[in-house]
């Protein structure tokens, strides 16, 4: 009981310190110089209407590279931890209802298409690699829900993940060789502002990121799902 009281007191002091931080904070009236630069020059330099994507993919592309590595490592660790069980064992599962099967057959292609749409148009409309990948992963969950033994092979996802990751690195290195620096999107022509194939390599990078995130999250789910049955 005393422990809880003590923690409460502790959090009260922490809260008070955050409160003092908040008090000094003034809501800005205009954009700060850095973001003003991005907003004004962004479209010309990078050619992507969606400024957030512009920052995420090119300006701070190195962060996104780090970001993808984090997901890659998490997927690898989940795989490392749950690898001990052998995969291809037959096990009895109660069958799912017919309605679920029908819905799944209808929804699955739509969701995949929706996911691809999101990361293809990352630079035009809100969305991008991460969101697209997540939608694809949810599609996978739907499949696994309806049929846990579905023959989705791990190999396929791993290959997809490695291909997209490696090509992401190739684009980065190309940036160094051809254009200004690592992950620069000027290796491809900026094209007309606003249509699909514009803003240099951004759509290419973001689709690879989308594929990679999608396959990683699905491999995490697959790892978790495959061990559905209790293991000896």
């Amino acid at each position: 009981m005393y422990k809880k009281l003590f923690v409460l007191l502790l959090l009260a002091v922490l809260g008070w310190s955050f409160f003092t931080l908040l008090q000094t904070h003034q809501e800005r009236q205009s954009l700060n110089p850095l973001s003003k630069h991005y907003v004004e020059k962004g479209p010309d330099e990078v050619g992507a209407p969606n400024l957030v994507t512009a920052i995420v993919v090119t300006y701070r592309g190195f962060d996104t590279l780090g970001e993808v590595t984090i997901l890659f490592v998490s997927a690898a660790i989940v795989g490392l931890f749950l690898k001990t069980e052998n995969r291809r064992r037959k096990y009895k599962i109660r069958s799912t209802s017919e309605i679920l099967h029908a819905a799944q057959r209808l929804l699955f292609p739509v969701m995949i298409l929706f996911g691809i749409y999101i990361f293809m148009n990352g630079h035009l409309t809100p969305g991008g690699g991460f969101q697209g990948g997540a939608v694809i992963a949810t599609a996978m969950i739907l499949v696994l829900l309806t049929n846990p033994e579905s023959p989705i092979s791990h190999r396929a996802f791993n290959l997809l993940e490695s291909v997209s990751g490696f090509s992401y690195i190739i684009i980065g290195v190309l940036g160094v060789l051809l254009a200004g620096g690592f992950l620069d999107n000027h290796i491809l022509p900026l094209g007309k502002f606003g249509n699909l194939f514009s803003a240099g390599a951004i759509p290419l990078i973001y689709s690879f990121v989308g594929l990679k995130v999608g396959s990683e999250l699905s491999s995490i789910i697959l790892n978790l799902n495959d061990v559905q049955k209790d293991d000896k």
């Binding site: 008090q23 809501e27 701070r60 931890f81």
Partner: protein, 123 residues
């Protein structure tokens, strides 16, 4: 700092979520609840980041017919924190996934989810 604006409210909510998250981490004994505490903690931090990007009456930083290239500067919210928070959310997921797999292996080792059971390496 007027606490009556959208930014003010969301910042306060963010900090309160952080405190609730920490409360969950420090007092709950079940491992799953501790990880839930973490998700709340991350949620709070992400909320603060996005709240700082918002300005009164501003819209999404995407240039389209409504927000033209010329007057974007006074219409658009700050895009940089939004870019950062994307990374933060995905880090949150990554960390949660790793923690959960740890909980799985710990459960397999000691068949318990109480954190005070796992005090093998101490002193």
């Amino acid at each position: 700092m007027n606490f009556f604006s959208v930014q003010g409210i969301s910042l306060t909510i963010g900090f309160i979520l952080i405190l609730i998250g920490l409360w969950g981490i420090l007092t709950q004994r079940n491992l799953i609840r501790i990880i839930i505490g973490f998700t709340i903690f991350n949620n709070g931090v992400n909320l603060i980041i996005v709240a700082l990007a918002y300005m009164k009456g501003r819209t999404a930083p995407i240039i389209d017919q409504v927000v033209t290239r010329t007057d974007a500067v006074d219409k658009v919210a700050d895009p940089i924190p939004q870019a950062l928070v994307l990374t933060a959310i995905v880090i949150g997921v990554g960390v949660t996934a790793v923690m959960l797999s740890y909980t799985l292996r710990m459960y397999r080792a000691k068949h318990s989810l109480e954190i005070n059971v796992f005090t093998e390496s101490k002193w």
